[in-house]
């Protein structure tokens, strides 16, 4: 590709204006020892056609999850309407920078304002930021907020929080001299240990990693009795259309990842984390915020605001170092929510939950399979398998089925258990195929005869 548009003639004109003979003279300020005197050892350049072929070949080595994928575990495959990708490929959105010049960035700014509004409405919070890296990082941000607001140092975290988010907290907690205390699950549900006046916040996820809908009201009430801040992490945000909102049951900071509402699985990123909170914590929230104001002629307009919290103003006194966030992903979520509307999002959640409950009924009647938890759940179900769950996953893979998540990696108490996830993108026929495959998978001989 001819990426650099300067012709030989252009280069001569430009050099003449600068007063140099050769382009290489422009690099004379680099001391000889630091100058690269050989070509970079990289594969030779490909044409656009060849590079496309090469990437297609790499992509073809991957197994693409289809309607027969029942893997969730923090990333969810929902249907995304075509308009979403069309909009985020609009040049004016995709090739713009962070909206530092609001007069020519009203499109980006207003869409952030609309994102903030819809996320507030879904979570029951007053304020939501313009996005952070992902749901796990959002949880870390919320914990830092709570440590700083409360001046306390203990953080009580439910074992039902995504295992990778708990790993993140372990990576980062020392930087804020915090102490993590993990609260084990009891039959898949969070129970707080004794909370005292050293506890800055509690943090639980609902629906939790094992699919269980937590008793948010009780968990938040216990937290507030101890004078601590209840932080709620949302499992799949589509659940907010049908479950009580964290703001309704007492949450003060709500975090999560908006991937399930508008973004493809993307092998884990880019996604869109968000941090939302009640008004009293507004000035401690990290990341960009967009506010509505007026221009010099009194017309409505939008701009980034409360920037005194941010690194480019506060430098080492900033609450967070975030600069680039996940803007275009947040736009995708905004478009998705506008397209689905209240009824559509409710239907997505209902269809997902109904399929999960349908599966539960079927699997319970299968020989050797057992439901592990006796708790209300949303769209993920934990099932104990006869024999090795790992071998079962392999067998399913051979039949084009991406089975559930092997939870024993993170929850050794649930040996040979798989977490199956269901969404509207599976459909009933796929669930029937899964049940059929499960029925025969642990009897390989019979399965082989049948096929």
């Amino acid at each position: 590709m001819n990426y650099v548009p300067h012709t030989a003639g252009d280069r001569q004109k430009m050099l003449a204006s600068i007063g140099k003979q050769e382009v290489s003279e422009l690099f004379d300020s680099i001391p000889p020892g630091a100058r690269l005197t050989r070509a970079l050892n990289l594969p030779e350049q490909l044409s656009e056609y060849e590079v496309a072929l090469h990437l297609e070949e790499l992509a073809s080595k991957n197994m693409v999850p289809s309607r027969l994928s029942f893997l969730g575990a923090g990333a969810y495959r929902h249907f995304v309407p075509a308009v979403v990708d069309t909009i985020i490929q609009r040049s004016e959105f995709m090739t713009a920078y962070t909206p530092y010049q609001p007069e020519v960035s009203q499109g980006t700014l207003q869409s952030i304002f609309e994102f903030q509004t819809m996320m507030c409405n879904l979570t029951g919070m007053d304020v939501c930021n313009a996005s952070v890296y992902d749901g796990g990082c959002a949880a870390v941000d919320a914990v830092f907020m709570a440590l700083s607001i409360s001046g306390r140092h203990k953080v009580v975290v439910s074992e039902g929080l995504h295992p990778q988010t708990r790993e993140l907290l372990r990576t980062y907690i020392d930087t804020h001299a915090g102490e993590l205390i993990e609260a084990p699950l009891q039959d898949g549900r969070t129970v707080w240990p004794e909370l005292n006046d050293e506890v800055a916040c509690t943090l639980f996820q609902t629906p939790n990693f094992l699919g269980v809908i937590e008793d948010g009201a009780a968990l938040c009430a216990r937290t507030k009795e101890a004078g601590a801040i209840p932080v709620v992490s949302v499992g799949d945000p589509c659940s907010l259309a049908v479950l009580k909102r964290p703001g309704d049951f007492g949450g003060e900071i709500v975090v999560g990842d908006a991937q399930p509402i508008g973004l493809p699985l993307s092998y884990g990123g880019p996604y869109a984390g968000f941090v939302a909170c009640k008004k009293q914590h507004m000035r401690r929230i990290p990341g960009r915020l967009c506010g509505m104001t007026v221009d010099s002629q009194g017309r409505r307009g939008f701009c980034l605001t409360l920037q005194a919290r941010e690194q480019h103003i506060r430098r080492d006194k900033a609450f967070s170092n975030i600069c680039t966030n996940q803007g275009l992903c947040a736009l995708a979520v905004t478009v998705y929510l506008a397209l689905l509307g209240p009824q559509g999002l409710k239907e997505v959640a209902d269809a997902s939950a109904n399929l999960a409950h349908y599966f539960k009924k079927q699997v319970a009647s299968l020989d050797g399979y057992k439901l592990v938890l006796n708790q209300p759940f949303f769209h993920e179900v934990l099932v104990e398998c006869p024999g090795s769950a790992e071998a079962l996953l392999k067998t399913l893979e051979g039949r084009g089925i991406v089975g559930g998540y092997l939870v024993e990696k993170d929850y050794p108490q649930y040996k040979n258990c798989l977490l199956f996830c269901f969404t509207e993108a599976n459909g009933k026929a796929a669930v029937d195929e899964l049940v059929n495959a499960l029925q025969h998978a642990h009897r390989p001989l019979e399965g082989a005869t049948r096929s």
């Binding site: 990426y3 382009v23 350049q45 496309a52 010049q101 207003q110 020392d174 993307s266 880019p270 104001t293």
Partner: protein, 484 residues
């Protein structure tokens, strides 16, 4: 079509109207029957109700209120707003990448891991590092990752007293913010009259408390740090580490490598140097490179090849996980695409084109605008409007806003902080000579314009200057009934 304000989604809602209807199926049961009523909400969520076409028009109209690289030159210093090739968008949307589940087995994602493995190696070669993590989601997260590695490295060596991170006064705000977030004490050293780090001022900090010096090179003044080898020697002799903020790596592609200059740790911004779109504020990616012993401290996981298979693994002294899953993967696909179709020669031309364009533009503006440091620049340069402010009361912000009227995005203003009334201009390698000339002509014209006209700019944008004080004093951060 006029570019007047577009009402918000919430002002266009019409009860009962539907946009897209998701797939539905009758399973013959209702999950609500099995869940306690107090957990369930019967009230539908508060979302706008619009048709698909209304949604489409709304966002297309909003987009028209924006400037982007595809609509205009975007000379935003330090942000490297180069053309975003569309082949990147095609490869990032291949179902074999876009639809992969992050938790599916490594065996079923070998193509994804293979791409990551090669990208790690390519970035290591480009920067002169020994190992790379692709995980950080942005430059700032890369900085924090590297500083956590620095902390872990010294803890392991029993040098816990190394608590000081030094940054020059020209550094990006993220540098001190990341250092403070990682638990370090931040010390700022001044720049000298040439715009380089003041070596005399640095010396007292080269001691047993020094953990790390963070440098951007070329600096945020667009200048190559002349003393880099002396600085590297001094930092290393004091037992400290040298960190490379890769925001300006575009200038050096194929001509110099941080590793060869003595840097121990590097972050790159793939959304700058490697052409992935900035998206109005992300997503980006901020891979981190490390040399020697530090490679063992990279966050988990990194990709390696074992017996012909690609696997994730955790480095020996890893600081652990720094985000969920495996990085902003589709951003990585785009950057890998960019590297493969440029090859070694193409990347070198990119760096040279960027430096040539910046120096040319500087040569056109010199004499009409004051240059902060009059040296051969790298990929960007900094002007100062201090005299214009004093004599005409025309500030850097006014010039920036006036450029919007002529259809250009604005340069970065009031940064770096050490230049009064700074205008930081980075044309990038993808602007043609004709565009550079038009931009220069416009700058020259603005320099001669009626100060009142410039001070009250912009005049032809969808909105004029916004009341940011009001926005901060009485924050309105969401739509509510009764707003107008």
């Amino acid at each position: 079509m006029s570019l007047t304000a577009e009402p918000t989604l919430f002002e266009k809602t019409s009860p009962g109207r539907r946009g897209v209807i998701p797939p539905q199926e009758n399973t013959g049961l209702n999950w609500r029957d099995e869940v306690a009523a107090e957990l369930v909400s019967e009230k539908p969520p508060e979302l706008p109700e619009l048709s698909e076409l209304e949604v489409m028009r709304h966002f297309v109209r909003l987009s028209q209120l924006n400037y982007g690289i595809d609509t205009t030159m975007y000379p935003l210093g330090s942000c490297t707003m180069k053309y975003n090739p569309r082949i990147n968008e095609v490869t990032a949307r291949l179902p074999g990448f876009a639809r992969l589940h992050p938790m599916q087995s490594e065996d079923t994602a070998q193509g994804a891991l293979e791409m990551m493995y090669h990208l790690q190696n390519h970035l290591a070669e480009i920067t002169g590092m020994d190992g790379i993590t692709l995980q950080p989601a942005a430059g700032a997260q890369g900085e924090l990752t590297a500083l956590l590695m620095v902390a872990a490295y010294y803890r392991k060596r029993g040098e816990d007293q190394r608590k000081v991170v030094v940054v020059p006064d020209s550094s990006h705000g993220t540098n001190p913010a990341s250092a403070a977030l990682a638990g370090f004490d931040v010390v700022t050293v001044p720049s000298n009259a040439n715009g380089d780090v003041d070596l005399e001022a640095l010396k007292p900090h080269l001691n047993e408390k020094l953990a790390c010096l963070m440098l951007t090179n070329p600096s945020t003044l667009g200048l190559f740090e002349n003393g880099i080898q002396t600085i590297a020697k001094g930092v290393h002799e004091a037992g400290g580490l040298l960190y490379y903020d890769g925001a300006n790596m575009n200038a050096l592609l194929g001509n110099a490598r941080p590793g060869d200059m003595g840097f121990d740790l590097v972050h790159l911004n793939l959304h700058k140097t490697f052409s992935t779109p900035h998206g109005g504020g992300g997503p980006g990616a901020g891979p981190v490179g490390a040399r020697g012993e530090l490679v063992k401290y990279l966050p988990a996981p990194v990709v390696d090849r074992v017996d012909g298979k690609f696997r994730f693994f955790k480095p020996e002294n890893s600081i652990g996980r720094i985000r969920t899953f495996w990085g902003n993967f589709l951003v990585l696909v785009r950057a890998y695409t960019y590297i493969r179709y440029h090859g070694p020669q193409g990347l070198k031309e990119v760096g040279e084109g960027a430096v040539l364009a910046a120096n040319y533009l500087l040569s056109r503006l010199k004499g009409h605008y004051e240059v902060a440091y009059d040296r051969t620049c790298m990929h960007e340069f900094v002007l100062t409007a201090r005299t214009s402010k004093k004599e005409k009361n025309v500030k850097a912000m006014d010039i920036a806003k006036r450029l919007l009227d002529y259809g250009y995005y604005a340069p970065t203003v009031y940064f770096p902080l050490i230049v009064e009334e700074a205008l930081m201009i980075e044309p990038t390698e993808t602007e043609s000579l004709e565009t550079l000339n038009r931009f220069a002509d416009t700058m020259l014209k603005i320099a001669e314009e009626d100060p009142d006209l410039v001070r009250s700019a912009p005049h032809s944008t969808p909105v004029s200057r916004l009341d940011e004080v009001r926005a901060a004093r009485k924050p309105v951060l969401r739509w509510e009934e009764g707003l107008s």
